[in-house]
Symmetry: C2
Subunit: 362 residues, 2 copies
Amino acid sequence: MPVAIEPRAAAPKIILTRPLDPSFLEGGALLDEAERKGRIELVRWAKDKPVDRQWLLDELRKGGTEGLVCMHNGEKIDDELLDAAGPSLKVVATMSAGYDHVDTAALKKRGVRLGSTPDALTAATADIGAMLVLMASRRAGEGVRAVLDGKWPSMPWNPLLLCGQSLKGSTVGVLGFGKIGQLTLKRLLGFDVSRVLYSTSQPGVALTPEKDYFNTLATAEFHGVDVRPAESYDELARESDFLVLCCPLTSATKGIVGADFLSKMKPTAYVVNTARGPVVDSDALLAALQEGRLAGAGLDVVTGEPNIGADHPLVQEPKCVVLPHIGSATVQARSGMSRDAVRNCLAGVGVEGFEWANEVSL
Amino acid sequence: MPVAIEPRAAAPKIILTRPLDPSFLEGGALLDEAERKGRIELVRWAKDKPVDRQWLLDELRKGGTEGLVCMHNGEKIDDELLDAAGPSLKVVATMSAGYDHVDTAALKKRGVRLGSTPDALTAATADIGAMLVLMASRRAGEGVRAVLDGKWPSMPWNPLLLCGQSLKGSTVGVLGFGKIGQLTLKRLLGFDVSRVLYSTSQPGVALTPEKDYFNTLATAEFHGVDVRPAESYDELARESDFLVLCCPLTSATKGIVGADFLSKMKPTAYVVNTARGPVVDSDALLAALQEGRLAGAGLDVVTGEPNIGADHPLVQEPKCVVLPHIGSATVQARSGMSRDAVRNCLAGVGVEGFEWANEVSL
C-alpha cells in the first residue's frame, strides 16, 4: 500500500549554512528526519567551510525561505540579507550563544524572530574559563611552547623557573554573571580562592536565588568563600587577582577592559576572556602585559579572529596564552547547540512537535 | 662595643647545591641568616644550573660536611657520594617531595637521616593535575599549537573542529591517593563528574576520615559524587574516563601504566601524569594514542626528562600535551619547599630553634 506523502510544496523552506554531521550532532539528525518526512524543504550549503555570502543571497532571492539556520562565524545577518529573503522569512536560528553577528533591529523591524543556543554550551565554556585561569597563572602557554620548541633539555630545573601564582587566597572577579559566569566561578571554588566579586551590567546588584542556576552561592558557602557583587567596575578592576570575562558583547561591554580599566588592575593580576574578543582592547592589554602592569592573560577569543596570525602581538607575547575559540568545543556542547538551533528554527516555521529552545527578546 | 661572634669552627658545615634567591625563597633567607649569625658554615654551588658532580664530590671529600641541601633534578645521592662525605654527614635534605634520586638503603646503612618537602607543593601540583585533565580533554595543546603555528586564519570554525570531551557525568580515577591525589580530586569535583574510583598501593582499602586531609569526602558528598576505592588496578583501568596519576615512584609503581594496564582502558579515556615519568611506559602510551586505544594524555613528567626534545614521539603526538615538569612551579610552593628543606637540614645538624618539617622514615 503506498504511503501518503504530503506535497513538498506545502513544506516550509529552510536554509542551513553549514553541514551538521548527524552521527555526532543531534541537530543534523533532526533536520535530516524532518526533510525525509517531507515536513520541511531543506536547502543546504554543502561545503565544510563558511557559507559563501553570494550563494546565500542568491538562494534567499529565489524566495519562499521561512527559516535560516546559521552559524556565528563570518555570517552577517543584516539588512541586505533580510531584504534578499523578503517577507517570507519568519525565523533566524543561530547555532551560538552570542548574536552580535545579527542586526537585531533589522530583524525586529521586519518581525523576524531570532533563536540562539545559550544553554547547551554553558558547561563547555565554563570549563575553558577555569582552564584558562590555570593556564595563564601557571604559565602553561610558555611551558607547552618550550617543550614544542625543544628547549626542555637546555633549561634544566631551577627553583624559580616558570613559576606562576597560586589561586589560594586570591580574589576572583567575574564580569558577566549569567549562566556561564556563574558556572565558571563554581568550577574555581574548589581551588581555595578566598573571595569573589561579580558584576552583571548593573554593578552592585546581588544575584537572587532564582537566578543562581547552578547552586553557586551554596557551593561558595560550603567552601567558605565570600561572594558579593562588586560595587562598581572600578572595584572589580582594583580588587581582582583573576578577572574572568563572561559577559555578552554589547555596546556597553565593547572595549570595557581597555586602558582605563587595566590601569586600575593589580600588576600581579590575570585577565581571562571567554566572552567575545572586542570586550578587551587588544592594544591596551598588550601594553599592560609588556609594561609589567598585568601578570598574564588567557584568551579564547581575540578581536579580529580567526584572522589572528602567528605574528599577532598577543600570540607573540609570552605572558599571553591564546586558544582558537574552543569554548564550546565539546562534542556534547556542539550537539546540544545544533539541537537547540534546529528546534528554534522548526518551531519558528511552525513544524508541529517542536518548541523553542531559546527565543531572543528583540 | 664589639659583638661576640661564635667561632666559625664550631658551626656545622652545610653544602647547598643550588642558589636560593632570598627575596623569593624563604629557605634562602633562612640559610643566609643562619650563616650571617655564624650558626652554620655554608658552602654554596654558586651557578644557577645543576651542581657539578665532581665539584660536589671534591667539596665533600674536604671532610666535615654535616648537612646537604640538594635538589631533585639530576643529583644522585648514592654510595659514591656518601663515601665522599664520610661519617660526618648527618642529614640529606632534598627540596622535593619525591626522593627517587636518593639511595635510601645507602643512607640507612650509614645512619644518615633524610628530609623531604611533600607538603609545600601539594596545592601547586593538584592545580596542574586538574589543569592537565582539562587541557588533555579539551585539546588545549593542539589549540595552542595551531595558534602559534599561524593556522587559526586558515582553519575557520566548523561544528566539530577541535572538539573534546566534557567531564560531566564522567568517572575520574585517581592512582595514588595521598595528599596530592586527594587535593587533585577535590579540584575536579566542581566539574560535574559523576563518580570517583581511587587506589593507593592497596586497592580496595577505603580512605579513613583521619587521612582525608582536605575534606575531600565531604566535598564529594556535597556535590553528589560517588567516591569509593577501586577494587583492583584492573577496575581502575576499565572504569576511568579520566585517570590521574599521583603516586610516588617505587618499584611497585614503575611502569604500572604500561601495555597491559592501557589495554584495559576505554578508547575514550584520558591519562594525566603529575607523578613521575617512569610510572608510565612511554612506548606503550604512545602506541595506545597512535592506535586510537586512548583518547589523549596530559603529562607534566616524562621518563628521561629533561632530555625530551622537540622530536620526542610524545611531544610530536597531537593527542598528548607535555609540560616541562612545572607541577610545583608556583612562587608560593617553591618558597615553602625551600623553607622546609632548609628546616630539615638545620634540624638535622642540630641548629637550635629548628624542627624537622618532614623526615622520611628509612
